[in-house]
Symmetry: C2
Subunit: 159 residues, 2 copies
């Protein structure tokens, strides 16, 4: 077992899963706030010079998990690890947020796509040289998905 002590919390406008954006790429402008625990505040030094951050957080309202799911954007079943659905064996989410400000241990962010009060596990700077794959990429079922990311919101299926 792995034990993690959250480094803070993410505060967002989304109190329930219904009608939430399903990815940060579809949450343009949605404003949120991150509070890092006092004891970890020194770890934020120089973060303000980055425009985008990865956040890793817990899907804290998910109970149990599914191995095969129909994701929001498709009408077919896929293995949970071939989707970004939240009801995963380790219920951990990963989003890229726009960082608009750092004030002490409080961060202001945009493009939030997670529930309010999500426990925050880590912040890492977004660095294209590490995070962007160049060359041929295959995206499986996503290539022919019937629904559009920007027109689709979450529903109750993974509650």
């Amino acid at each position: 077992m792995i034990y993690l002590n959250p480094i803070g919390f993410i505060y967002t406008p989304f109190k329930t899963i219904e009608n939430m954006p399903i990815q940060s790429a579809a949450a343009k402008g949605a404003a949120g706030r991150i509070m890092v625990r006092e004891e970890f505040a020194d770890g934020l030094k120089d973060l303000e010079e980055f425009s985008h951050i990865h956040v890793i957080y817990q899907f804290h309202k998910c109970e149990g998990h599914l191995l095969v799911v129909k994701p929001f954007l498709d009408d077919k079943n896929h293995g949970i690890f071939a989707t970004r659905s939240p009801k995963r064996p380790c219920a951990i989410g990963m989003s890229i947020l726009k960082l608009t400000g750092v004030n002490g241990r409080e961060l202001t962010v945009e493009n939030v796509d997670m529930l309010d009060e999500s426990p925050l596990i880590d912040i890492k700077p977004y660095i294209p040289e590490f995070d962007v794959i160049e060359g041929d990429i295959s995206i499986g079922w996503y290539k022919n998905k019937p629904k559009n990311l920007h027109d689709t919101r979450s529903d109750e299926r993974f509650k």
Copy 2:
């Protein structure tokens, strides 16, 4: 506290931290293997159609954490959350691997940049529409870093 039950393990050629590639982007071709636990194998359905995957894993050899570090690629100190250094409060790593095969619950992968036997927390498909930021990006200290990603290997500093 957050309790996570690893979904499997990542096997790589790297038994110790010395001389390891410091990012998967600098580990081109380094071959590894992922074994997913039997009980989660059904979650891999359709994953083979993706060419790249995110893996989230534990830096299982890190003890304790640092809040301010000198990363491998710079000669100045930065907050741990403004770097990708492993000695983090929640010692969780994130890499993008090339997926070369899925055989039952075994995955063959390339571009591994983690220690052998790293406990695996999650696998998510790499989907550029979710994972690539378009437009203006600021990358802080990384912009003027004195060292080159591809010529730099890890050393003992975060042991």
